[in-house]
Symmetry: C2
Subunit: 153 residues, 2 copies
Amino acid sequence: MILDPDRDLELTRLVSASPAQIWRCWTDPALLRRWWAPQPVETVEAVIELRPGGRFFTRMLHDGRSFPVEGTFLEIVPQERLVLTDALTAGWRPAPEPFFTAILTLAPEAGQTRYTARVLHRDAAQQRRHAEMGFHSGWGTALTQLEALAATL
Amino acid sequence: MILDPDRDLELTRLVSASPAQIWRCWTDPALLRRWWAPQPVETVEAVIELRPGGRFFTRMLHDGRSFPVEGTFLEIVPQERLVLTDALTAGWRPAPEPFFTAILTLAPEAGQTRYTARVLHRDAAQQRRHAEMGFHSGWGTALTQLEALAATL
């Protein structure tokens, strides 16, 4: 799918870990908690039901404030592609405050892994809002944390 | 999944047609146009890309006004289960005005087919809005039209 520059945000990087290691970091809740939030934000809860329509839940803690994200998985191709959204909750119910769909793709490249996270929004205003919330630095810092963790697996 | 009486609406009926016939009426756009809108409303366009993330689009015409619905498929189990939503559009982008997820199930029963359409909403207010828009009479009339069409296939 072609990037929509008005409504999408994308982070792509060559990562020094295998697709299998990165996949584990994304799909094992104990591992997800260790890299998902950019420090000093903490991920204090993570629930992963890895099937289409299964629950994806995280709760982050920052300065004593709680940031829950409730969503569901849309596509699961192990070690290649993972799609999740907060526009629907587990069992496909429309969500009260839909914001994003994230499409993660992993591909071997020159002995490393090409990691691409594309985030889709409903319109340009939502894209700008996400950019201003710090999408690039937030997802970038988290990816650096993921890379360090994946290398230890 | 258990019906949530505060947020879901459901229509269920024994239909005198086979699951295969009903499935064709739902998934062939030329057939869908013939039963989807309760008369005198007309379905003037229908696009069906029958895969998860594929486009589901209909446009109805009533008293000269146009009513488009843009959505996507979530689950497809031929002749058994079809799930679609307008909370996401084709390719999984969050939709501007999410309203419903529809879960259609078909099961053979006593030589006929048990047809169940459950519609999920994000909250009780949206459920009431859909009920007041005439969910039961609208979907009921459309189902009667579907039954008549399916019997001719």
